[in-house]
Symmetry: C2
Subunit: 319 residues, 2 copies
Amino acid sequence: MSTITLKSANFFKLLKYSNLSIPRRFNSGTALKLVYSEYGDPMKVIKQEPDHVQEPKNGEILLRMIAAPVNPADINTIQGKYPAKPKSLPAVPGNEGVAKVEKVGPGVKNISGGDHVVPLRNFLGTWRTHLIVMEDDVLKVPKDLGLVEAATLTVNPCTAYRMLRDFTTLKPGDTVIQNGANSACGQNVIQICRAWGIRTVNVVRNRPNIDELKKFLTDLGATQVLTEEEVRITELFKSGQLEKPKLALNCVGGKSALEIMRHLQNGSPMVTYGGMSREPVTVPTSALIFKDVQIRGFWMTRWSKEADSVDRIPMIQSL
Amino acid sequence: MSTITLKSANFFKLLKYSNLSIPRRFNSGTALKLVYSEYGDPMKVIKQEPDHVQEPKNGEILLRMIAAPVNPADINTIQGKYPAKPKSLPAVPGNEGVAKVEKVGPGVKNISGGDHVVPLRNFLGTWRTHLIVMEDDVLKVPKDLGLVEAATLTVNPCTAYRMLRDFTTLKPGDTVIQNGANSACGQNVIQICRAWGIRTVNVVRNRPNIDELKKFLTDLGATQVLTEEEVRITELFKSGQLEKPKLALNCVGGKSALEIMRHLQNGSPMVTYGGMSREPVTVPTSALIFKDVQIRGFWMTRWSKEADSVDRIPMIQSL
């Protein structure tokens, strides 16, 4: 029996300086959990504690977490800055991850020992080594799915999928424009669009290794990758090389949002799912009245709360 | 036979200093029209010319304009600043008005001499004494309808009606919040809501005679009238005196738009139909993501272009 390889302090130091979306592996062994009893700086309020795991009862499953990523939303939740909060404190952080089924309780039908599963509900608290859930709280995924892919399946790829599906009807050959295209979600947008035959115009901030980043995103399936400066002067749409986008996805705000909105076809939506620049979305009155742009927002947590697992399962399976 | 009572120069001077939505009467008599051959300042480019009116042919109707209002959009069209433009120049301005049927051509079925009609199409050019239209271009209205009401029926009241109908489903007891509530369209919103049992919170700029304006709008049917300063600190919704609004209507932009948006129920739309402050609409990222506010725009011209007269006739009749 071994303990968690990283001590909690190291663990969070690493998270703080990482891009916050790399899953960390837990080793199997003694049941341990990370908990917080008050909102605040994760480095200060998160403690590592031993956990008491019981035998799974009727309909329950005992899971061993294989990997649990840290999403910026997890950090904001711990800080108390996120609108969705755990029902009570102390709470175990973590909404995502992939787990192996250790043992199933009586009456569990569709899941067996050794299966790999991902959470279907928020606030299960995935930052622990072991946990007990109900059968319906999780979805079985193929064992050969990469750990990173599996552990992060239920937030970013689902956000990308829903934004591409729920605000307009896209058909092969249509164009989508997005900023923050190298974010985890932006990369998922590129991959899903490639699979669906949809063209993507991807806006990223300029940087010293911009050519590398452009190649990386192009290899992922991006039709075009432009810097914030390039999108301002691009002739891509005027020249007819690409049709004007029918959907814009914004996780930056401010000027960047305005630039991607400007290229939209009349009557098209821009969907905001993040605000990395910390600037609001500014919309010219004329774009609303005369171009009929539709400014919307998307929050996976709300969608999950409102949706049935009936809606969720085919989405996760298709991803 | 008399000529137009106001000379064109006086006519436009008056428009310039009026609130631009007061209909001017044309007297019957010699056919005359106002025309512009180039875009520019209406005071300079508009000329009065004699018009040659022929007998109405098959399906045609000869109209004599009784009243034709001046909408700010008419002025912007003449200036060349409006996105909708006449097919060619020279053109006769004016999209609204009420006319008396002078003579019907062969094959006209549902309209007879002496009927009062309003235009169903844009760019008929209502700023003239007489015009020939097709039967389907106009809709019969009751003769006892006031001239001002009839002449302005097809733009502002229709804008109010569509904004209240097309963006959310309102039922009696629901609340709508709007700024610029004393505009022509804002007044129509108040009246239609009163008729439908919908509550209105009406925001206006402070002014010396604010009590008079509040009384005027309250008499019209407003549930509440608040100044821009009052709406910022109102406890109306927190106290439970009124339910949070399910729809916001914005014709101002800037801070005023932000204030009315702030009070919306989660998942509700704000519809922009004007930008009197000349400031854009600024939307906090959190309102889009976590409150799911939906920022939309409405332009009657687009609606009219896309709609059938089938949609239009019941609306105008109900108004």
